[in-house]
């Protein structure tokens, strides 16, 4: 399995191309990357560590990281659901760091 440091380096390059900014706080990011790598191992796709994938690539695709909900969450709260990707205002503490409510529709959560 790839190390979290290696994975971080990959994401550091990848994020800007997607218009995303990685959370600079390693304490927050490290366990998230561990969770993502673990999900990659068991599901074959790196699904959000803070959501429950079901091992069906079609049903889980909306929560493959970066998830479909990251951009609207960053827009509204300055961070994605699990705080891996954040906004400039978040980094400069211009906005409070809040728990992001779950945006994923219930029907998708229960679809398995």
């Amino acid at each position: 399995m790839m190390s979290v440091e290696k994975y971080y380096a990959v994401l550091k390059k990848y994020a800007p191309s997607q218009g995303l900014i990685l959370n600079p706080d390693w304490e927050t990011v490290k366990p998230l990357l561990e969770g993502l790598l673990k999900n990659g191992e068991r599901y074959g796709i790196r699904t959000c560590p803070c959501r429950m994938a079901v091992g069906d690539k079609e049903k889980d695709k909306d929560i493959v990281c970066p998830c479909d909900y990251a951009k609207p969450d960053i827009e509204d709260y300055g961070a994605c659901f699990c705080w891996l990707y954040v906004s400039e205002d978040w980094i400069q503490n211009k906005i409070p760091h809040v728990q992001v409510p779950e945006r994923r529709p219930i029907e998708k959560i229960l679809d398995f």
């Binding site: 927050t28 366990p31 998230l32 561990e34 969770g35 993502l36 673990k38 999900n39 560590p49 803070c50 959501r51 429950m52 994938a53 079901v54 699990c82 728990q99 409510p101 779950e102 219930i106 959560i109 229960l110 398995f112």
Partner: protein, 89 residues
Amino acid sequence: MFEQIVKQGTPLLLALSTCPRCIRMKKFLKMHNISAEIVDVDLLPLDERRSVYRFLKPFNPRLSFPTLIVGDSVVIGEEYDEVKEVLNL
């Protein structure tokens, strides 16, 4: 499914094994010597996960993790002030 545990007042933590918030919540409970029933729902077979969701829905309609249930009190997410309150810490 967990009705008995909840009725006894034993804290029940529904979590995901990959979720850092859940991992920190488990540490918090351990640090405060709280003996809780801890369930990593993502490690259960699919049919058991369905019944966990059925059980969880009235407590947390958004079905997010972590969720801590103590009697009829519920703490959704990593909210330690609320946890201290419901556990009288």
